[in-house]
Amino acid sequence: MRGFVFCLIYIIGFATILSSIPAGLQGTESSIETVIPLDPRLITGFSETENYSKDAFTAGSYEYDDFGGFDWICVTDDSSFGLARKIKFLGIFWFGQLDSCTFVAPDGTDRGNTLTFTEIATDAEEGAVRYSLSLILSGDSAGSFVIYWNITAYPAIADAWTADELYLLHGLGIADLATNNIGALLISLLLLHLPDVPVLVNLFLAVPIWACIVYVLWYVITSMIPFVGG
């Protein structure tokens, strides 16, 4: 009985405390797929993101729909960018009307609705810059626009663009400060697949939990089925 109570409290206590750890404490998302050394805070924290680069543009424009409930268009002349939200009649028909975004640099400089490569190069630090966006007509916030490239391989931003190595990210909203996905975390812990954790350390953490689970199961089975326990 004593062991059963101990194991039960241990498992419940462990899971409860673990689930209360904010997701942010897990560190940077290991799922970010970028080969560029980049401050992850620039490109994380959004509830929605749209990533694209030169290859996505057709005839100088790239359109993406249903992003934050609206349709968007990014235009370029291979030396500058413009970003706008489509204004639709009755929310369905688009007759070419746009609500352009202004780009506000991290130091507060308003770069207007056309962002040139020169301005990006000026604003960027180590090949990355995050602009705040605001819509001119509606005055609403349009999230952030992150531009980043490998400054070691491409000191000039135009070269990165030509090589399709200039990455653009439009981020909207703020990711909820949700707590961890307790199920995924516990399963990965028990299956020795905890991210960024040495297997041996994971084993040390997982063994007591496995032992408790097995003991609880054994106790329940032997208690509920009398002839098993004898």
């Binding site: 004593r2 462990f14 750890i21 897990q26």
Partner: protein, 94 residues
């Protein structure tokens, strides 16, 4: 220089590995908070405040990347062990 970069400079300065630098700095930070509290709170109840502060500081250090996330899980496991031990005594008696 941001808080995250301090262990890098520290380990470079001492010519030790980054992990060792992070560990040493974390211990310094934790002790610099816990020791004065320990001196101020000489009674037995101080241990609860010490534990609470320890977890809080450790979480902050994990948040700024000085300590790995698994260390927080290990702390949680130890806390759960303690809670289970106390809970068992309360439920079953002993």
């Amino acid at each position: 220089m941001s808080l995250e970069d301090i262990p890098t400079y520290f380990s470079d300065f001492l010519d030790i590995s980054l992990e060792a630098g992070q560990a040493i700095l974390s211990i310094i930070v934790i002790l610099s908070v816990l020791l004065p509290v320990m001196i101020l709170l000489k009674n037995r109840k101080g241990i609860v405040i010490e534990l609470f502060l320890f977890v809080l500081i450790e979480s902050a250090l994990v948040g700024i990347g000085w300590l790995p996330f698994w260390l927080l899980i290990a702390t949680v496991a130890i806390m759960a062990f303690g809670i289970a031990a106390l809970g068992t005594n309360a439920v079953v008696g002993g």
